[in-house]
Symmetry: C2
Subunit: 182 residues, 2 copies
């Protein structure tokens, strides 16, 4: 996770910036360069991931990185510039679990304004039960609903997505769900 620190220097020229209202009618303070005038915008980050399913079971990864080292998560990570949300979700699933999947429909969108993030999860079908976790993952494992380590889930967005997944499965119909984690 990236924690937001104030911008100190201009990305264009390196001069120390000052936070103030721009002159263009903008109503928010931005980091503005007194030397070259560059206005630096800070925007939410997108986290993209999957709910990888094999029959009755869902794939979780035990985190080998901070924050939440040793906790269980759905495969997910920061979206990169040159990919779509679905491509990013599939890439993270490959990187963190080494899992072969077929990506499915968009399942959840979760706002986390306290950290300036939007998390998006896609349903995915696992094509194999063989995994090859990357260096960010201690262990990749399949869980039935009654085996999910609910008290050891890394993030509220992951917990909410898993809860909704099992609720939808019981209802026999998967929808697209929005949540605000406040």
């Amino acid at each position: 996770m990236i924690f937001r620190r104030p911008i100190k220097h201009c990305r264009e020229c390196g001069t120390a910036v000052a936070y103030r209202l721009p002159d263009d009618g903008d109503t928010r303070e931005r980091a503005i360069c007194p030397a070259c005038g560059t206005i630096h915008y800070e925007n939410p980050l997108m986290v993209v991931g999957t709910v990888p399913v094999l029959g009755e079971r869902v794939l979780l990864c035990k985190r080998n990185i901070e924050p939440r080292w040793g906790k269980w998560t759905l495969p997910a990570g920061f979206m990169e510039l040159d990919e779509t949300t679905a491509q990013g979700a599939a890439r993270e699933t490959d990187e963190e679990a080494g899992a072969r999947i077929e990506i499915g429909p968009l399942f959840s969108l979760l706002n986390v304004p306290q950290v300036g993030q939007v998390h998006i999860f896609y349903l995915a079908t696992l094509l194999s039960d063989r995994f090859d976790p990357g260096h960010e993952t201690i262990e990749a494992r399949l869980f039935r609903e009654d085996e999910i380590p609910w008290d050891e889930i890394s993030f509220r967005t992951v917990k909410k997505t898993l809860e909704q997944f099992f609720a939808d499965r019981r209802a026999g119909r998967f929808g697209m769900h929005s949540f605000d984690i406040l």
Copy 2:
């Protein structure tokens, strides 16, 4: 719109950065500071907006800013750090059209990887036909489907969202739709 330029200087200390692979296993080149070691990540930007509906008609705004000055758009803009996607969509609708709305369900998610953006539109119900456009808008106007200026729409994400809106309305059911604009 923000066009991405390479990062030239470190946001922490102002030193000139170099693009190279980090030492942490990352497989992409990042702007890294040779002085303080800060790794600068660049991530997609989220654009949030609404499809504001009053009976048979949809609200469009004639842009008073570049790019696409003078073209028609749905109210939309860059999401800010301290808001949810729905709050951002409502804020942009207020700023660009001065329109009073009740925000509805998530309607479209459009990837535009060529510019590193993800656009999200919510359905919205207009509570009044009186508008008070801000400085970014020349004119805010309601259009029936047969009045939409299809050749004068500002962005492909807006055109796609409008097309899908009218298709869903004809079908009598509004869904949630994902598109990749490649």
